[in-house]
Amino acid sequence: MAGRFAAAVWEFVVGDDWRVALGTVLTLGATALIAAAGLPAWWLAPVAVLAVLYRSVRRAAAQAPAEP
Protein backbone atom coordinates (compact mmCIF):
# COMPACT_ATOMS: atom_id res chain seq x y z
CA MET A 1 0.00 0.00 0.00
CA ALA A 2 2.76 2.44 1.06
CA GLY A 3 4.86 1.29 -1.90
CA ARG A 4 2.02 1.93 -4.34
CA PHE A 5 1.41 5.37 -2.82
CA ALA A 6 5.12 6.22 -3.10
CA ALA A 7 5.13 5.03 -6.71
CA ALA A 8 2.07 7.18 -7.50
CA VAL A 9 3.68 10.26 -5.90
CA TRP A 10 6.91 9.59 -7.82
CA GLU A 11 5.00 9.26 -11.10
CA PHE A 12 2.97 12.39 -10.33
CA VAL A 13 5.88 14.66 -9.41
CA VAL A 14 8.76 13.23 -11.41
CA GLY A 15 6.85 12.15 -14.54
CA ASP A 16 8.40 10.52 -17.60
CA ASP A 17 12.00 11.67 -17.13
CA TRP A 18 13.57 11.77 -13.65
CA ARG A 19 16.53 13.70 -15.02
CA VAL A 20 14.30 16.74 -15.56
CA ALA A 21 13.23 16.76 -11.89
CA LEU A 22 16.83 16.20 -10.73
CA GLY A 23 18.07 18.95 -13.06
CA THR A 24 15.48 21.34 -11.61
CA VAL A 25 16.54 20.62 -8.02
CA LEU A 26 20.26 20.94 -8.84
CA THR A 27 19.65 24.19 -10.75
CA LEU A 28 17.78 25.84 -7.89
CA GLY A 29 20.37 24.56 -5.40
CA ALA A 30 23.24 25.99 -7.46
CA THR A 31 21.32 29.29 -7.83
CA ALA A 32 20.97 29.47 -4.04
CA LEU A 33 24.72 28.82 -3.56
CA ILE A 34 25.75 31.50 -6.07
CA ALA A 35 23.28 34.00 -4.58
CA ALA A 36 24.55 33.24 -1.05
CA ALA A 37 28.08 34.03 -2.26
CA GLY A 38 26.83 37.49 -3.22
CA LEU A 39 27.17 36.93 -6.98
CA PRO A 40 24.48 37.51 -9.65
CA ALA A 41 22.62 34.19 -9.98
CA TRP A 42 19.44 34.97 -11.97
CA TRP A 43 20.96 33.90 -15.31
CA LEU A 44 21.68 30.29 -14.30
CA ALA A 45 18.14 28.88 -14.05
CA PRO A 46 16.84 29.92 -17.52
CA VAL A 47 19.96 28.55 -19.23
CA ALA A 48 20.13 25.33 -17.20
CA VAL A 49 16.40 24.58 -17.41
CA LEU A 50 16.34 24.98 -21.20
CA ALA A 51 19.44 22.78 -21.50
CA VAL A 52 17.80 20.08 -19.35
CA LEU A 53 14.60 20.31 -21.41
CA TYR A 54 16.51 20.08 -24.71
CA ARG A 55 18.45 17.01 -23.58
CA SER A 56 15.23 15.34 -22.39
CA VAL A 57 13.39 16.09 -25.64
CA ARG A 58 16.29 14.78 -27.75
CA ARG A 59 16.48 11.60 -25.67
CA ALA A 60 12.74 10.96 -26.00
CA ALA A 61 12.80 11.72 -29.75
CA ALA A 62 15.68 9.31 -30.29
CA GLN A 63 13.60 6.54 -28.68
CA ALA A 64 10.44 7.38 -30.66
CA PRO A 65 9.74 5.35 -33.82
CA ALA A 66 9.82 7.29 -37.11
CA GLU A 67 6.33 7.99 -38.51
CA PRO A 68 5.55 8.33 -42.22
Partner: protein, 251 residues
Protein backbone atom coordinates in the same frame (compact mmCIF):
# COMPACT_ATOMS: atom_id res chain seq x y z
CA UNK B 1 -6.42 42.59 -12.84
CA UNK B 2 -2.59 42.63 -12.90
CA UNK B 3 -0.52 40.82 -15.52
CA UNK B 4 0.43 38.13 -13.02
CA UNK B 5 -3.18 37.57 -12.02
CA UNK B 6 -4.14 37.35 -15.69
CA UNK B 7 -1.37 34.76 -16.23
CA UNK B 8 -2.68 32.81 -13.22
CA UNK B 9 -6.20 32.77 -14.67
CA UNK B 10 -5.02 31.83 -18.20
CA UNK B 11 -2.69 29.07 -16.95
CA UNK B 12 -5.21 27.45 -14.61
CA UNK B 13 -8.09 27.85 -17.10
CA UNK B 14 -6.16 26.26 -19.99
CA UNK B 15 -4.63 23.48 -17.86
CA UNK B 16 -8.01 22.66 -16.39
CA UNK B 17 -9.76 22.79 -19.78
CA UNK B 18 -7.26 20.36 -21.34
CA UNK B 19 -7.63 17.86 -18.51
CA UNK B 20 -11.42 18.34 -18.42
CA UNK B 21 -11.64 17.49 -22.14
CA UNK B 22 -9.75 14.24 -21.50
CA UNK B 23 -11.88 13.31 -18.48
CA UNK B 24 -15.08 14.30 -20.32
CA UNK B 25 -14.29 11.86 -23.15
CA UNK B 26 -14.12 8.94 -20.70
CA UNK B 27 -17.25 9.97 -18.76
CA UNK B 28 -19.06 10.38 -22.10
CA UNK B 29 -17.96 6.90 -23.22
CA UNK B 30 -19.30 5.40 -19.97
CA UNK B 31 -22.54 7.39 -20.05
CA UNK B 32 -23.39 6.64 -23.66
CA UNK B 33 -22.72 2.89 -23.33
CA UNK B 34 -23.84 2.09 -19.76
CA UNK B 35 -26.25 4.87 -18.74
CA UNK B 36 -25.52 8.23 -17.16
CA UNK B 37 -26.32 7.82 -13.46
CA UNK B 38 -23.21 5.92 -12.29
CA UNK B 39 -20.55 7.79 -14.31
CA UNK B 40 -22.03 11.12 -13.21
CA UNK B 41 -21.94 9.94 -9.57
CA UNK B 42 -18.29 8.86 -9.99
CA UNK B 43 -17.31 12.13 -11.69
CA UNK B 44 -19.19 14.17 -9.07
CA UNK B 45 -17.51 12.38 -6.16
CA UNK B 46 -14.06 12.91 -7.73
CA UNK B 47 -14.90 16.62 -8.16
CA UNK B 48 -15.80 16.84 -4.45
CA UNK B 49 -12.50 15.13 -3.45
CA UNK B 50 -10.53 17.60 -5.61
CA UNK B 51 -12.41 20.62 -4.23
CA UNK B 52 -11.80 19.39 -0.66
CA UNK B 53 -8.08 19.01 -1.45
CA UNK B 54 -7.82 22.59 -2.71
CA UNK B 55 -9.90 23.95 0.19
CA UNK B 56 -7.75 22.11 2.77
CA UNK B 57 -4.25 22.61 1.38
CA UNK B 58 -4.81 26.15 0.00
CA UNK B 59 -4.94 27.99 3.35
CA UNK B 60 -2.10 25.80 4.72
CA UNK B 61 0.22 26.80 1.85
CA UNK B 62 -0.47 30.53 2.16
CA UNK B 63 0.88 30.67 5.74
CA UNK B 64 4.39 29.58 4.65
CA UNK B 65 7.09 32.31 4.57
CA UNK B 66 7.23 33.88 1.09
CA UNK B 67 10.85 32.83 0.32
CA UNK B 68 10.17 29.19 1.26
CA UNK B 69 6.88 29.22 -0.65
CA UNK B 70 8.53 30.65 -3.76
CA UNK B 71 11.39 28.15 -3.69
CA UNK B 72 9.20 25.07 -3.12
CA UNK B 73 6.31 26.21 -5.30
CA UNK B 74 8.66 27.56 -7.98
CA UNK B 75 10.41 24.19 -8.06
CA UNK B 76 7.13 22.27 -8.29
CA UNK B 77 5.72 24.56 -10.97
CA UNK B 78 8.97 24.19 -12.87
CA UNK B 79 8.83 20.39 -12.72
CA UNK B 80 5.15 20.34 -13.80
CA UNK B 81 5.75 23.00 -16.48
CA UNK B 82 8.71 21.12 -17.96
CA UNK B 83 6.65 17.90 -18.09
CA UNK B 84 3.84 19.68 -19.97
CA UNK B 85 6.25 21.51 -22.28
CA UNK B 86 8.29 18.38 -23.00
CA UNK B 87 5.17 16.43 -24.07
CA UNK B 88 3.85 19.38 -26.13
CA UNK B 89 7.21 19.79 -27.92
CA UNK B 90 7.41 16.05 -28.69
CA UNK B 91 3.83 16.08 -30.05
CA UNK B 92 4.32 19.27 -32.09
CA UNK B 93 7.60 17.89 -33.43
CA UNK B 94 6.00 14.60 -34.52
CA UNK B 95 7.90 12.42 -32.05
CA UNK B 96 4.75 11.57 -30.06
CA UNK B 97 1.25 11.01 -31.37
CA UNK B 98 -1.32 13.75 -30.77
CA UNK B 99 -4.08 13.08 -28.26
CA UNK B 100 -7.02 11.70 -30.28
CA UNK B 101 -10.28 12.11 -28.33
CA UNK B 102 -12.34 10.15 -30.89
CA UNK B 103 -9.93 7.20 -30.69
CA UNK B 104 -9.96 7.29 -26.86
CA UNK B 105 -13.78 7.49 -26.87
CA UNK B 106 -14.04 4.47 -29.20
CA UNK B 107 -11.56 2.46 -27.10
CA UNK B 108 -13.28 3.25 -23.78
CA UNK B 109 -16.77 2.66 -25.20
CA UNK B 110 -15.64 -0.65 -26.72
CA UNK B 111 -14.14 -1.78 -23.40
CA UNK B 112 -17.33 -0.77 -21.55
CA UNK B 113 -19.48 -2.82 -23.95
CA UNK B 114 -17.34 -5.93 -23.41
CA UNK B 115 -17.86 -5.80 -19.63
CA UNK B 116 -21.01 -7.44 -18.17
CA UNK B 117 -24.02 -5.18 -18.78
CA UNK B 118 -24.96 -2.53 -16.23
CA UNK B 119 -27.39 -3.59 -13.45
CA UNK B 120 -30.96 -2.37 -13.90
CA UNK B 121 -30.97 -0.90 -10.40
CA UNK B 122 -28.30 0.46 -8.07
CA UNK B 123 -24.84 1.69 -8.99
CA UNK B 124 -22.93 0.28 -11.98
CA UNK B 125 -19.57 -0.18 -10.27
CA UNK B 126 -17.59 -0.39 -13.56
CA UNK B 127 -18.85 2.95 -14.93
CA UNK B 128 -18.63 4.57 -11.48
CA UNK B 129 -14.99 3.57 -10.88
CA UNK B 130 -13.80 4.41 -14.42
CA UNK B 131 -15.42 7.87 -14.30
CA UNK B 132 -14.17 8.50 -10.73
CA UNK B 133 -10.58 7.55 -11.63
CA UNK B 134 -10.61 9.56 -14.86
CA UNK B 135 -11.78 12.76 -13.19
CA UNK B 136 -9.57 12.32 -10.11
CA UNK B 137 -6.39 11.51 -12.03
CA UNK B 138 -6.88 14.18 -14.71
CA UNK B 139 -7.90 16.69 -12.05
CA UNK B 140 -5.13 16.05 -9.53
CA UNK B 141 -2.39 17.80 -11.47
CA UNK B 142 -4.66 20.75 -12.21
CA UNK B 143 -5.58 20.97 -8.51
CA UNK B 144 -1.88 21.18 -7.66
CA UNK B 145 -1.26 23.77 -10.37
CA UNK B 146 -4.20 25.85 -9.09
CA UNK B 147 -2.96 25.46 -5.49
CA UNK B 148 0.68 26.29 -6.10
CA UNK B 149 -0.02 29.16 -8.50
CA UNK B 150 -2.81 30.52 -6.31
CA UNK B 151 -0.80 30.21 -3.08
CA UNK B 152 2.16 32.09 -4.54
CA UNK B 153 -0.15 34.86 -5.69
CA UNK B 154 -1.96 34.72 -2.32
CA UNK B 155 -5.14 34.19 -4.34
CA UNK B 156 -6.23 30.53 -4.26
CA UNK B 157 -9.92 31.55 -4.74
CA UNK B 158 -9.07 33.21 -8.09
CA UNK B 159 -7.35 29.98 -9.22
CA UNK B 160 -10.36 27.95 -8.05
CA UNK B 161 -12.73 30.22 -9.99
CA UNK B 162 -10.62 29.83 -13.17
CA UNK B 163 -10.59 26.03 -12.75
CA UNK B 164 -14.35 25.85 -12.15
CA UNK B 165 -15.04 28.09 -15.16
CA UNK B 166 -12.95 25.80 -17.38
CA UNK B 167 -14.79 22.66 -16.22
CA UNK B 168 -18.19 24.32 -16.74
CA UNK B 169 -17.17 25.53 -20.22
CA UNK B 170 -16.00 22.04 -21.27
CA UNK B 171 -19.11 20.32 -19.87
CA UNK B 172 -21.42 22.88 -21.51
CA UNK B 173 -19.73 22.60 -24.91
CA UNK B 174 -19.54 18.81 -24.55
CA UNK B 175 -23.27 18.44 -23.96
CA UNK B 176 -24.00 20.81 -26.86
CA UNK B 177 -21.73 18.79 -29.20
CA UNK B 178 -22.89 15.44 -27.72
CA UNK B 179 -19.60 13.80 -28.67
CA UNK B 180 -15.89 13.79 -27.84
CA UNK B 181 -14.35 17.26 -28.15
CA UNK B 182 -11.97 16.26 -30.92
CA UNK B 183 -11.50 19.75 -32.36
CA UNK B 184 -10.13 21.36 -29.21
CA UNK B 185 -6.49 22.38 -29.95
CA UNK B 186 -5.24 20.40 -26.97
CA UNK B 187 -1.54 20.49 -27.85
CA UNK B 188 -1.48 24.26 -28.43
CA UNK B 189 -3.16 24.68 -25.04
CA UNK B 190 -0.65 22.33 -23.40
CA UNK B 191 2.21 24.22 -25.07
CA UNK B 192 0.90 27.53 -23.68
CA UNK B 193 0.42 26.11 -20.18
CA UNK B 194 3.90 24.54 -20.29
CA UNK B 195 5.52 27.86 -21.26
CA UNK B 196 3.62 29.80 -18.57
CA UNK B 197 4.29 27.28 -15.78
CA UNK B 198 7.98 27.01 -16.71
CA UNK B 199 8.34 30.81 -16.83
CA UNK B 200 6.69 31.34 -13.44
CA UNK B 201 8.56 28.35 -12.01
CA UNK B 202 11.93 29.79 -13.06
CA UNK B 203 10.98 33.29 -11.89
CA UNK B 204 9.72 32.30 -8.45
CA UNK B 205 12.29 29.53 -7.97
CA UNK B 206 15.18 31.97 -8.56
CA UNK B 207 13.64 34.54 -6.19
CA UNK B 208 13.05 31.83 -3.57
CA UNK B 209 16.70 30.75 -3.91
CA UNK B 210 17.74 34.26 -2.85
CA UNK B 211 18.63 35.81 -6.22
CA UNK B 212 16.92 38.84 -7.73
CA UNK B 213 15.93 39.55 -11.30
CA UNK B 214 17.21 42.56 -13.20
CA UNK B 215 14.15 44.77 -13.72
CA UNK B 216 12.10 42.88 -11.10
CA UNK B 217 8.70 41.66 -12.38
CA UNK B 218 9.45 43.15 -15.82
CA UNK B 219 11.79 40.18 -16.33
CA UNK B 220 8.84 37.75 -16.33
CA UNK B 221 7.40 38.50 -19.81
CA UNK B 222 10.95 38.53 -21.25
CA UNK B 223 11.52 35.12 -19.67
CA UNK B 224 8.23 33.78 -21.10
CA UNK B 225 9.08 34.99 -24.62
CA UNK B 226 12.57 33.46 -24.38
CA UNK B 227 11.19 30.09 -23.19
CA UNK B 228 8.51 30.13 -25.92
CA UNK B 229 11.15 30.87 -28.59
CA UNK B 230 13.48 28.16 -27.29
CA UNK B 231 10.63 25.62 -27.13
CA UNK B 232 9.59 26.46 -30.69
CA UNK B 233 13.19 26.06 -31.89
CA UNK B 234 13.19 22.60 -30.28
CA UNK B 235 10.00 21.74 -32.24
CA UNK B 236 11.63 22.89 -35.51
CA UNK B 237 14.77 20.92 -34.65
CA UNK B 238 12.68 17.76 -34.06
CA UNK B 239 10.71 18.22 -37.30
CA UNK B 240 13.93 18.74 -39.29
CA UNK B 241 15.54 15.69 -37.68
CA UNK B 242 12.52 13.48 -38.44
CA UNK B 243 12.37 14.68 -42.05
CA UNK B 244 16.04 13.76 -42.45
CA UNK B 245 15.41 10.31 -41.00
CA UNK B 246 12.46 9.76 -43.36
CA UNK B 247 14.24 10.98 -46.51
CA UNK B 248 17.41 8.97 -45.82
CA UNK B 249 15.45 6.00 -44.46
CA UNK B 250 17.94 5.79 -41.59
CA UNK B 251 17.42 5.61 -37.83
Amino acid sequence: MTGTELSLVVSVFLACAVEAVEAFTIVLAMGSTRGWRSPLLGAGLAGIVLAALVATLGPALTVLPLAVLRLVVGGLLLVFGLQWLRKAILRAGGAKTLHDEELIFAREAGAAERVASAPAEGVDSYAFVIAFKAVLLEGLEVAFIALTFGANQKDVPLAAVAATAAVLAVVLIGFMVRGPLARVPENAMKFTVGVLLTSFGVFWGVEGAGASWPGGEAALPVLAVAILAAAWLMVLDLRRGRRLVLTTGGG
